[in-house]
């Protein structure tokens, strides 16, 4: 990494960890298929729902791709979070943390490698589903253009923040909290306004929605699809909240390593 001393921050060590996860992915074709399987199934289901609603709902008819775009973007968040937390879980399954952290690898270098591999996994998974939507439903999410990049990036970052929080819990409580890695993100789904406007939520729940970057992303997505307008205000709110969540997630993750060293958990992790 330019500008930083090699002993503090090493691109080679981050690259080594990315390579380790690419080896893992390459060595198992079911893992590659699994990346694309659920996003594709979801896209197919919501594509069929869209076909029905196009003739039965004036709202969907106004922007036929709104449900498919929503499900694909939701999967960006989900895959980004899984990319961090499930890959970290692989180290626990392998009882491998002791070897890793007896090496010069820093926890923040591991965190960066998790982030990088999550981008790869998200692109494989969501990219496949997005490409299949073109021939299946004549809908291309890529037609959104640059706003898509803004939504994609914001959802990735929020996914990483949640992923780091889950990794901290895994390190603290072990594989007993494994199910959190798969299920926790669904807790925010109802209040993120994925398939409906935040205004459709009960009034008392709407303030909760507005403290999540996802709400701004999905409202922003609908603004682009319905009004052909990129709402910069929504985008900036999502970025600001993501900065807070990412700092909090990374801090919790790094603190969990110090705690693990104090409690001897790096030796026991996975058991």
């Amino acid at each position: 990494m330019m500008g930083l001393p090699k002993h503090v921050f090493s691109g080679q060590r981050i690259g080594a960890m990315v390579l380790r996860y690419l080896y893992l992915l390459r060595g198992s074709w079911p893992r590659i298929v699994e990346q694309a399987y659920w996003p594709t199934v979801q896209m197919v289901i919501w594509g069929l729902v869209t076909r029905f609603f196009v003739t039965n709902s004036s709202w969907v008819a106004e922007a036929a791709g709104v449900l498919i775009a929503a499900v694909l973007l939701w999967d960006v968040l989900f895959r980004a979070q899984l990319g961090v937390s499930v890959i970290f879980m692989e180290e626990l399954f392998a009882r491998h943390l002791g070897h890793l952290f007896a090496s010069p690898l820093r926890p923040y270098e591991l965190a960066l490698s998790l982030v990088l591999i999550s981008v790869v996994r998200t692109c494989i998974g969501v990219g496949t589903a997005a490409l299949l939507a073109i021939p299946l439903y004549h809908y291309s999410i890529f037609e959104m253009g640059l706003p898509l990049l803004a939504f994609f990036t914001n959802l990735l970052i929020f996914g990483w923040a949640i992923g780091f929080g889950i990794c901290a819990l895994l390190l603290r409580y072990g594989l007993g909290v494994e199910s959190l890695a798969w299920a926790s993100i669904f807790a925010i789904a109802p209040v993120s306004g994925i398939y409906y406007p935040i205004a459709a939520l009960p009034e008392w729940l709407q303030p909760v929605a507005w403290i999540l970057p996802t709400s701004y992303v999905f409202e922003g997505m609908r603004a682009v699809l319905f009004d052909r307008h990129f709402d910069t205000g929504m985008f900036l709110w999502a970025v600001a909240l993501n900065v807070i969540y990412l700092i909090a997630g990374a801090a919790v993750f790094l603190r969990a390593f110090e705690h693990a060293r104090e409690r001897g958990l790096l030796l026991q992790a996975g058991e």
Binding site: R20, H99, L100, F101, A102, R261, L266, L267
Partner: protein, 265 residues
């Protein structure tokens, strides 16, 4: 070990200390894993940590690796304070343990490549070929780690432990799961490595014959404390026994070196 540590006076003087441990204790909640341990290991020596299960050997090794933070006390490795400068030292150390695995679904070559890069090993391919030949794992390089026998895994983990030509090598039961022939070859290989590089080796083992043959210093642990120390021959003479195993049993069963039963703790 230095004289102040109670050495029997026959220790070689090999220059600076590789490891200096001062009044180190570690508690896990109510459990006292290590208590008030102090020792110095000279550079280029081979030191064994001996003790029954739960004596504190693994916790001590883990603290030397920075995997566990001591509750109190200080540790210096290769002249650096391990708590404050952990990462300046870890690249010059390495370790092996049969109780910690490498990623199961990666091949042996992939695992070693990842670790070679983590440690910044130059000319990595050449180094992998050297290690494969030295540890007789050439035929295993393309196999997934999970498909190996326990003995094969031990050799692969040793290859990982040697990949960065460590100046300090910590070995937890280095010949566990190996047949006597392979274990003997591994011991010779480790001794050759130590002679070639002048590395400091610290091993925790239950194999007393191995310790007698390989180590020039022994730290005897019980209940988280160092209860005796010296050369293998010195300890055997002091306890009036024929083998280190008998000394080990005396210590584990709370018998003092004058042959009288000590007060049980």
């Amino acid at each position: 070990m230095s004289n102040e540590d109670g050495d029997d006076g026959t220790s070689r003087r090999l220059g600076m200390a590789a490891i200096e441990v001062h009044q180190v204790s570690k508690r896990f909640g109510e459990v006292r894993a290590v208590h008030g341990v102090s020792f110095t290991i000279e550079r280029g020596s081979i030191c064994a940590l001996l003790g029954a299960n739960g004596a504190g050997k693994t916790t001590t090794l883990a603290m030397l690796l920075g995997l566990v933070t001591p509750s109190t006390g200080s540790i210096r490795v290769l002249g650096h304070d391990l708590l404050r400068h952990r990462y300046e030292v870890l690249g010059r150390m390495n370790f092996s343990s049969p109780y910690m695995d490498l990623p199961q679904r990666l091949t042996v070559a992939e695992n070693l490549t990842v670790y070679g890069r983590l440690y910044g090993v130059p000319t990595l391919k050449k180094r992998l070929a050297e290690l494969a030949s030295r540890l007789e794992i050439e035929a295993l390089m393309r196999r997934e780690y999970r498909t190996l026998s326990a003995g094969q895994k031990t050799r692969v983990v040793l290859a990982k432990a040697l990949i960065n030509r460590p100046e300090v090598l910590l070995l937890d039961e280095p010949t566990a799961s190996l047949d006597p022939d392979t274990a003997d070859r591994i011991r010779r290989m480790l001794l050759d490595y130590q002679r070639e590089t002048g590395a400091t080796l610290v091993l925790a083992s239950h194999n007393m014959t191995e310790v007698e043959r390989v180590c020039d210093r022994v730290l005897m642990m019980r209940g988280g404390e160092i209860v005796d120390r010296g050369t293998p021959a010195g300890l055997i003479a002091r306890y009036g026994r024929d083998t280190l195993e008998e000394v080990f049993l005396d210590i584990a069963r709370h018998r003092s070196h004058d042959g009288l039963a000590a007060t049980a703790t």
